[in-house]
Symmetry: C3
Subunit: 470 residues, 3 copies
């Protein structure tokens, strides 16, 4: 058995000459700061800077990558502490997790966790039923030390910027508190909000009407009217921008866009706000709102992210009992080429607009997304998302996209995580896979080494800063 959990050559190609090249490229990017323009960490951690709780509460309970796998093999949600506001017996949950750790063989979760176990907590023996308690005790003890407080970890992780994801109704008090605290890492710490309007834009969200009203109160606009509603959204965007926000995010079921005449849009809004809209009208409203958001982005410069194609809360019983985001979101086939056309007809040729498209349907990569991004000046491709944020997924992304869209219509890496401790591991995986891909291009004489170095640095650092206007 290996004395260490992770190897310095992990994820680099086995062929010796290619590996040597990949190592050389990786050496050029491994120490670059982390730019994290899209994720789901909590600003409150950095505002309060309190110790993270025990290993089960920190690593198992909030991570749907972990509990979906255990659930798929018959472990109950209760046994993983899901649905409990505070885990009653964290050590018991941890032991259950540890005894199922073999399930993660070959998965990115395994790579992320082993990285954190070794690099952050100094663990060297594999997690298993036998080592469960040793792990639990070691991690618990470290989490109480000052070097493991959120701000200290932020600095240790070499983060340059970290974006959260926030509702337009959020007062962003914690973001303000961070700013006011005067905390600086690397001279210029930045925890930035991201404007995610889904809860006030997607009529399928429970409590939609109440939220629209709340948006009105907050902004002083009459959100009972279409114009007032749009103004309220514009004001909310401005409020986010004032706190450093540079991007919006949109998690729609499809990529459908629309460009209705104003009167029709206003009528549709009335129906939707009154809760009288059919499913098709709700879809049309979301579609219209993507185009409205693009229009506002042309005006205020916020970069637009679209994350379409997920059937949310697919498991009815789990949803009814435990609510949203319980590991049961399943992708569906998606069409970008027709769906985006109304928006692109209107704003596709705006060179000042940036729309970053994400995907969960890999069949669209070479068929639709690379051709679209390789033509429209406003379009860029986001990194492989969710299930595809993995070594094989990232490699396929480069293989399927590069020949048509090049490297410069992509935007670097997003860690897109709730799991703060996994951030360095995730960036490390992306950097290694990109270096592996580039090393193959060099080994096959499709790119010279000096160019590969430049591209590697752009993929690891430069493109994210540029695309997200950081």
């Amino acid at each position: 058995m290996n004395p260490m959990l992770i190897d310095p050559d992990r994820l680099l190609p086995a062929e010796p000459a290619t590996r040597t090249m990949a190592r050389r490229l990786y050496a050029e990017v491994s120490h670059l700061p982390l730019v994290s323009p899209h994720g789901h960490t909590q600003a409150g951690w950095f505002a309060r800077n309190e110790p993270f709780p025990d290993p089960a509460t920190l690593l198992v309970q909030p991570d749907h990558y972990i509990f979906r796998m255990l659930y798929s093999q018959g472990v109950s949600m209760e046994d993983m502490g899901i649905g409990q506001p505070m885990i009653e017996d964290p050590r018991k949950v941890w032991r259950i997790f540890a005894s199922h750790y073999f399930l993660f063989r070959g998965t990115p979760t395994r790579i992320w966790l082993d990285f954190a176990f070794q690099e952050l907590f100094g663990l060297e023996k594999r997690l298993s039923e036998k080592t469960a308690d040793m792990y639990f005790d070691t991690i618990s003890e470290k989490l109480r030390q000052p070097e493991y407080l959120p701000r200290a970890l932020y600095e240790r992780f070499n983060l340059e910027v970290l974006a959260t994801t926030d509702s337009p109704l959020d007062a962003l008090a914690e973001h303000k508190a961070i700013r006011e605290s005067g905390w600086k890492a690397r001279g210029n710490t930045r925890i930035l909000p991201t404007f995610r309007p889904d809860p006030v834009v997607d009529p399928e969200f429970a409590g939609f009407a109440e939220r629209i009203a709340q948006l009105g109160e907050q902004s002083g606009e009459d959100t009972a009217t279409w114009r007032g509603y749009l103004k309220a959204l514009a004001k909310a965007r401005a409020r986010f921008r004032a706190l450093g926000c540079t991007a919006t995010d949109h998690g729609h079921p499809s990529a459908q866009t629309a460009d209705l005449p104003e009167a029709e849009a206003a009528k549709l809004f009335e129906k939707v706000a009154a809760g009288r809209a059919t499913a098709a009208e709700q879809e049309l409203f979301r579609a219209q709102m993507l185009t409205e958001m693009a229009r506002m982005s042309v005006e205020d410069g916020l970069v637009m992210q679209i994350h379409p194609g997920s059937v949310r809360n697919h498991n009815r019983k789990i949803f009814e009992r435990y609510g949203r985001d319980m590991g049961a979101d399943i992708p569906r086939a998606i069409n970008y080429v027709d769906a985006l056309r109304p928006l692109l007809d209107r704003f596709g040729n705006e060179t000042g607009l940036t729309i970053i498209l994400f995907m969960l349907d890999e069949s669209t990569l070479s068929r639709e997304l690379a051709p679209l991004a390789g033509h429209y000046p406003c379009l860029r491709l986001g990194p492989p998302w969710w299930f595809h944020d993995s070594p094989e997924g990232m490699m396929r992304f480069r293989e399927l996209v590069t020949e048509t869209a090049g490297f410069y219509n992509t935007v670097g890496f997003n860690d897109d995580t709730r799991a703060f401790l996994s951030i360095p591991a995730r960036h490390d995986v992306a950097r290694r896979v990109d270096c592996a891909f580039l090393a193959r291009l060099v080994a096959e004489h499709r790119l010279e080494e000096d160019e590969a170095v430049e591209v590697a640095r752009d993929l690891a650092y430069g493109l994210a800063k540029k695309a997200y206007r950081l």
Copy 2:
């Protein structure tokens, strides 16, 4: 030219360190018994234990992988003996096959056949027009020897269990005869039936109404009513279980499921049984029946296999002249995520239920199937099927599935063949490709060798036994 047809390192990666690792893994699994939980061999072969006929009748006429390729290049069905109850001139058919053997370059058929030619018949020179007669004579002669009788081959192949596929109307006389014969290989020979209800569940089958009536007679239930029909099916399942059956199989055009209120289902059944149902109602009936079958599986423990997505008998003229299964079934794009929802809403969280999903549309692997199997406790992924039962297909399957669903939501290998002689070759290919995949993970430091050995053994042997409850 190579003095042998197959090389000991075949299908292992060329990179030397990875190949060495793959060899080590393969050495751990190459001699494990074969578990064949899904296939289309004939119980009668083992009941009667008579010699197989000549090479053309044994290897060409029944193998649609072979004659579809020759047909695609202009060889007529007649020239391959198709449509003849007994081939008039088997040597002539064999010569035609041999002179077109080059067409199979790069295909799994070539690998399977060369394996059998060398390992089973001791042939060492490549099949071609020149060697056609030598092959015909050698194979013909061997087939008359006792070591080439079906039972002897079963033992030589190191088979531990072999499942056939059978209609609920089948009396299973041959399965009974095998049991009564007292034949035992390895202490415990098992030829098991599989319950495949398509002919009495899919209204598109010719003679559907007659079969429903026959099901009633056989079971003593009134299959003119919905309740009686369901009871008759449950009785047929019990009859299969008594002969060792552990699984059902469902070859529907789509993966659509439904969960109708009982009264509606009963009405639909009446319409369907009376032959008055539209195509959409026929589809709805099949959909409902998948959920009914799942319900019975929750009760009786039979593992459920779903093989959807094939447009059967695509070539109208071939179908009209030669009937079903003539190499003209073509896959179609398929949706699992919406289609399975009614069934999963009802039984998705049953930990006692196992549903094995198969696919012919590789775009669903990373998009839908791995996410579904990586969450629902009842779901497992079957091995790559049909056109994808091939080195590249198997490798893509692991690459597309493992990162999201892991190894333990898959179920090992199915040979799924009518061609008894190809069974060892097919398992050998699967074991080699899995070892090649695992060797790459080890070479890239994504898995330790001790874990890879454990996984390799599970993929080759353990998972199939567990998933199929053998």
Copy 3:
């Protein structure tokens, strides 16, 4: 930095034993003549044999691969000389192109251009802002030399046959002029027309009715009637055949076919010709015409090519301002399995008919296209097209297609280009990638070397001649 732009081992696998094998295979095919049965060069170049103009007009302005990438990164169409009948300042356009050359890293465009720069113009330093003028001057000077005239290049490129793509309304005067000029390269120069009836078959084309009338005048048939229209098309085909044409080409939005009773087809034609057809009727008419074209092919022996699945002119503003073929055609998901059925029901079993299917949706390769081509005697698979005419695209094509359809249901390579100078580079890429694929099969003992050599020669040369009946 490399002293040369292209390496003798480019695109061959890095693993040393596999590379050695690939080199041996490539040595067997690198000097075979080029067969170019499908492309978009201009017969007029060879008829007139005048010097090509400056580098920008020759290489940038007509190449939508190039200007789509620059446009996607914010370069305006005007800055690339698009929409100008003659580029006002070619050096300025060239400099803009050169300073954006890094965008093509990892793309086939880069490979094609570097090949031409080095092999044709003797350039050895990478194109960039710094070397822009040196490139411009070097290329400009060479283009004035007699060795760079179109006919000289044709000979230098080792072309054996080159097909253009032409409207049925084209008088083919330039093809005639070439024939009459007596020019012969390699004994038997052939510039052949291809019959592309889209403008008189697809009612969505602007000016459809006028073109139908023109077809009538040209042929002396009454194209106001369905019968007359079909007769006129048959006559046009005969006219093409007389000038060496062996193939037709059909660039429909979908692969839909139909087989209407004659009276219905006649009625549909009337409606379509009168401009009264709905979008669905226009689609049905195109579908019917594919079957009519197949019928004529059965009669006159022309090979049929179908290029479906592209949403043409996706960017509305670019289309309105600059017209068709401006780099904004985007593929869409496509169904072959149902769409082709009416045509295949009628002619699918004709061994005298050849239909070559192309694709822009890679998910269809293993799911639909390989199974179809591996069964129907009339079907063959065209090489990866457009965005997929690239090293990764070609490799995926072989990996996804070969195991089901073999090599012999594919038809070799098409360069399919407007960019005459890129032809040798494109064939070279295809030959190298095929040799890389075959070398892996040999290295993994899936094919013997003597067979790989035979296949390599067939893929590079033999299959194209055979499939296109050249």
